[in-house]
Amino acid sequence: MIPELGEFALILALGFSFILAVIPLYGAATLNTLWMDYAKPLARAQFTFLLISFICLGYAFANDDFSVQYVANHSNSQLPIEFKLSAIWGGHEGSLLLWAFILSGWTLAVSLFSRGLPLDMLARVLGVMGIIATGFISFLLWTSSPFLRYLPRFPADGADLNPLLQDFGLIVHPPMLYMGYVGFSVAFAFAIAALLSGRLDAAWARWSRPWTNVAWAFLGAGITLGSWWAYYELGWGGWWFWDPVENASLMPWLVGTALIHSLAVTEKRGVFKSWTLLLAIFAFSLSLLGTFLVRSGVLTSVHAFASDPERGFFILVLLLLTIGGSLTLYAFKAPNVKSESSFGWLSREMLLLINNVFLVVMAITVLLGTLYPLLIDALGSGKISVGPPYFNALFVPIMSLLALSMGISGAARWRQTSVAGLKKQLFVPAIISLVVGIIFPFIYGDGFNFRVFLGITVSTWVIATTAKEFKDKFRNANSITAKLSQLTPSYYGMMLAHVGVAVVAIGITLVSTYSEERDMRMAPGDKIELADYQFEFKGAKKVKGANFTADEGTIEVTLEGEPVVTLYPQKRHYTVKRSMMTEASIDAGLFRDLYLAMGEPLGDDGAWAIRVHYKPYVRWLWLGGLFMALGGILTVFDKRYRKKSTGEVAHA
């Protein structure tokens, strides 16, 4: 009964989305206030029924209703409750329902927090989001309903959730990621609304910014969580593999980063409007493209949902309508955009534009590498693979150039800045960065290393220039505390996020250069040494978990005779799926991780294949990601988003 209610609620939600897609937009075009007023209640109704649908699916999982196909395929009576509920988004159909539900959540949020927005703008924004929702809910109902039943005969118990997914990571990573993916639809909707209305002054940038910043922050947090999860879950200590699905999340994030900066310039200076509109469309298009890549079966990935090309075709049609439609609208309406000020060729505007170019080229590089095998195959030229060696070779240099440029942009003034002025500002940070960069590999490693020099110099440069800019704010201040409280949350957010970039860069540089790893055969009593630590294998014993049995090893770690930690890696056998999984044991630290995993039992003397990793500064990767996400969230606490403002802009 409940699953049918869920399906019915979905149908009602589709109805409301469709009306939301049509009525308010028509009302905005004809300036019919009554029809535009429907937008808010429609958004509420859409949300309510998607919530009901979502709860019904959760209910089916919580009550082990294995007559529902989706529940039977992804759950089991022995599964712990938190995973039963997270299994809602553990497969294609349910995660799509999550997508639609989160979209309705954002739509509701926009309808609630838009007091300063003119009615026709709000109607258009909600209308566009309604169009997207209509597409996705149709896709759900037509090809991917999570409420299909196995009747009359249904399995007594479920097929269990993939052991890799039975983890805390599943509870947080997909929702965060989807909040980001879907959140970019708000920026998209604002851009489309601006193009439709012809009102292309910089006000839409001001309205758009907080929504875009939050979506960007969520996406960044989602990516960070994904990397962290893969690290401790997969057992090989990797944290990024340039897998198509990972790339699908990185691309909108890169374009999103360009977008949040472009929006800032459009709001403050009234320039780049056309470019910002294009970026908003581009970012969400990449979100949609990601959805296509992951669910159509077009690319191979460990992450991909087992989907078929029929569903892929439906999504492709959705893509053509949404992206094709918005790009056509852009091509026709963008010429009406006029800039409101001008800027010299050496100015903050110019530098931010150059940074945008870097970010977009990075995104296109990732896109090119991800799709190239498909392109070559479609042209009939055989099968090739594009993997980490390619991406690392191209991504790292451009990233370094971007980081260099970041420092310069911070010191540049709006409109016009002088080379001499820049030199004066940046001289000290440059010297500091070079010195630290050169010395570091000698102190930390065993001699000069170009990669470390580059990474550390560039990261220090970002931190030093940010610090200098911050310090300069106090030059004319009477009191430090007064100035501190005068600086806006936006500014603090920006600083935190930029420092986050440096922290990630340091993490990546150090962990890829100074990691050490050994795969060894160890019998009980054997000792090995890695990176000054001693590891002694004490043997393995059998343990039992909720829905698995495991061989658990005991390894004592000492540093110069002093005990550091005892680690317990496991080799798990999940009873239902009859599959095996490595559960690594990690001693986490701010400056290094010790990572142990068990392979196969070797021989009768209780020996095992053991992998020992020393991973320096790996946590900095995720710490930096966290900084960036927090920085993004911080910016929306700016008072100016809470005041009703006329949206004045600097004029040339």
Binding site: G235, V302, W345, L368, S385, P388, D519, T582, G599
Partner: protein, 157 residues
């Protein structure tokens, strides 16, 4: 459909780390082994390199790499050996040839193009603005005096 299902099942069971305990006397060879097995793709898996995969074919290929390294073969020889049998698919670093030129050179070209376009657009924009300002007519003597009076009034207040 069934075959697909079996493939999916088989790949799910490869959910554990592949830990091979090859003993290398030469540290350099051990490093090369790690690099080669990381840069080559398992022909059967869902996008995994040889290092992380525990599929039978991946284990066999790693074994072969180990043997070839011990036999003092060069990296190029090992890579060529694998490609001759499994095609370019097995390389994660695509070869630099005419087919892949766009892949390797595209981003660089795009970057240069992007920067050039940005600079050119800004220059042409500034030139247009400069033209506009040049059209502002000069003040004649009477207007100049009036302006001066206004400015002086401003200074006093």
């Amino acid at each position: 459909m069934l075959r697909f299902f079996i493939l999916v099942l088989l790949s799910i069971t490869s959910a554990y780390a592949a830990i091979d305990t090859y003993e290398f006397k030469d540290k350099d060879k051990e490093l090369r082994f790690h690099e080669l097995s990381a840069d080559m793709r398992c022909p059967k898996c869902q996008n995994q390199n040889l290092a992380d995969s525990n599929a039978a074919i991946a284990t066999d290929l790693k074994q072969k790499i180990y043997l070839m390294l011990e036999a003092d073969k060069s990296d190029t020889e090992i890579v060529d050996y694998m490609v001759a049998r499994y095609g370019d698919f097995v390389l994660y670093e695509p070869r630099f040839n005419a087919q892949n030129a766009v892949l390797w050179l595209g981003p660089g070209v795009l970057l240069l193009l992007g920067l050039i376009v940005v600079i050119w657009l800004t220059r042409s924009r500034n030139n247009k603005n400069a033209e506009n300002t040049e059209q502002v007519p000069e003040l004649d003597a009477k207007q100049a005096k009036a302006l001066q009076q206004l400015l002086n009034k401003d200074k006093k207040s």
